[in-house]
Subunit: 235 residues, 2 copies
DNA sequence: TGTATAATCAATAAATATATTGAATAATTG
DNA sequence: CAATTATTCAATATATTTATTGATTATACA
C-alpha cells in the first residue's frame, strides 16, 4: 500500500523507520507465537531427540492425530520444523540445531524466573523422593574417572540416532529385564530426553528399589549435544 | 480437582506424569506468550538499554500510554520485567540479563530461519546504501590496534548507564553539531541499541555525506554486554 | 490536606487461536 | 490400477488476544 498523501522527506524517513521496525518485530513475534503453545513446545522438545512421524508425535503429546498435524503445520509455517517422506510416513524434524537453542533459552528462563514452573518440577521430583540430579559438568568428570555406569533409558531408536559416549541403552520398559546384568556396587547415572522427561525419574525409583545407587542427569541428551560434547552412535 | 473415580496405581502414575508435563509446558508457554507480540518484543529490546518510564516506552514503540501500560503489565506478570518507583515515575527494567538472552535467541533464530525477516533488514540497509556492518569480534580487533574512532549514538542517558570502553557519546540528534570535532582521516565505527536500531544507519549516512569513512556495528551495546566484554561508565 | 500527574483499570468490539469432528488427499504398495 | 493408510483439510464453536476509549487510582509535593 503506497500512500499518495504528499509529505516531506523527513516524514517519509520516519515512516520508513516505523515500517522497518514493524516488519522485524512482527516477523519475530510470528515465529514466537508458533512457540507459545504448550503442545507445540512439547513437540519441539520431543523432536530434539530426532525425527518422528505425526502419529508418534500425537501419541507422545497425548493429542489426536488431526490436532497434532495442525500444530505441526503451524511449526512448519514458522520454519521451526521441516519434513521428509519415507514410504507411507512423513517424518518431522527440527529445522536446525538453533531451534533447540531457542527452546533451551525459553526453558532455562522460565525455570529461573517463573516460580510456578520451578514448583511443578520440585513437587514432581519430591513426590518420588528423587530431588537430587547431577549436572552435565559433574557427569563428564565422573565419566573421566571411570566411576559410573551410564544408562540411556530412552527408546532404542532414539539411542540409535545419537547418544552420550559410553552410555548403555536400556529402554525404560526393558529395565526390569536387564537390571540384573548391571554391576551391583557401582553408582548408576541415568539420563533420558531432558529435564521434563520422566523416564529417568522412573528408572531411578526402580533401581533404588532394587538396592542400587542411582541418580538422574538433570538435563538430557539434546543438552549434551548442544554443548558441543562428543556424540556416539551404535557400532 | 481430585478425581474420585477408582483407578489403579499404574493409571495414577500415568496421570501424574501427564499433569507434570502439562504443568511445565503450559507454564513455559505462558511466558512465551508474553514474548509473542511485536510491541512487547520491541519493549524488551528497548529495556535492554536500561530502565525507562511508561511514557517514554509508549513514545518509543509508537503506542498510547494506556496500551503500553497494558503490555507492560503482561510482561510483568510473566516475570520478564520488574519495576521501581522514583518520584512521580515508575521505571521498568528487564527482570534479569537472561531475559535479554532469550530475546537474543529468538532474534537470531528468526534472522536465520525466516526469510521475510532477513529480507526486511536487507531491504532497509540497501535503501540507504549501507549493507555492510562489522561484527563485535572485528570491532574488538580494531580497538586493540587503535585503528578506529568509536561512536555511541544512543541518547546520552543510555550511554551513561553503560557503554563500550573508549566509545565517544554523540547522540544522533547532536551529530551534525559535533561532527567537525572528529578526526578527518580515521575510520569511524558507529553503534547504537542493536541490529534493529536505526540511529547507527542514520549516522553512517550523514558521516559519509560529510566525507568520512564510517561503518555501523551489526549488533548493539546489549549484545556486547551479553558476551561478557568489559563495560565502561562515564568519568 | 489538596492538587497535579504518571500510571492503571474497565469495558468494549474486532481479530485471532484452539480442539473437535468427519471428510478429503496423496502417495505407496500389492 | 486399485486399495490402503498416513496425513491433511474444512467447518465449527469456544476461548483468548488486542487496541481504543474514557474513567480511576495512587503518589509526590506544594
Amino acid at each position: 500500500m503506497v500512500s499518495f498523501v504528499p509529505c516531506n522527506r523527513e516524514q517519509r524517513i520516519i515512516m520508513e523507520k516505523r515500517q522497518f521496525k514493524e516488519g522485524v518485530y512482527s516477523g519475530i513475534s510470528q515465529m514466537t507465537k508458533a512457540l507459545s503453545n504448550p503442545n507445540r513446545l512439547e513437540i519441539i522438545d520431543l523432536l530434539a531427540q530426532g525425527e518422528k512421524t505425526v502419529e508418534v508425535i500425537a501419541q507422545e503429546i497425548n493429542a489426536s492425530v488431526a490436532n497434532a498435524s495442525q500444530h505441526l503445520q503451524v511449526l512448519k509455517q514458522a520454519r521451526l520444523v521441516s519434513t521428509r517422506r519415507q514410504g507411507h510416513f512423513i517424518y518431522y524434524t527440527l529445522a536446525s540445531p538453533e531451534v533447540f537453542g531457542a527452546w533451551y533459552a525459553l526453558r532455562s528462563l522460565s525455570i529461573r524466573q517463573i516460580p510456578e514452573v520451578k514448583q511443578v518440577i520440585d513437587d514432581f521430583r519430591h513426590s518420588r523422593d528423587s530431588l537430587e540430579a547431577i549436572s552435565i559438568e559433574a557427569l563428564t568428570e565422573k565419566l573421566e574417572l571411570d566411576e559410573v555406569v551410564l544408562l540411556d533409558v530412552r527408546p532404542a531408536e532414539e539411542y540409535r540416532m545419537g547418544h552420550i559416549p559410553r552410555a548403555i541403552s536400556v529402554p525404560i520398559d526393558q529395565l526390569d529385564l536387564q537390571v540384573k546384568s548391571l554391576p551391583a556396587r557401582q553408582e548408576i547415572i541415568v539420563y533420558c530426553r531432558g529435564p521434563f522427561c520422566v523416564f529417568a525419574d522412573e528408572a531411578v525409583v526402580r533401581l533404588k528399589n532394587q538396592g542400587y545407587r542411582a541418580t538422574r542427569l538433570e538435563e538430557g541428551f539434546p543438552d549434551w549435544k548442544r554443548l558441543g560434547l562428543p556424540v556416539a552412535f551404535p557400532q
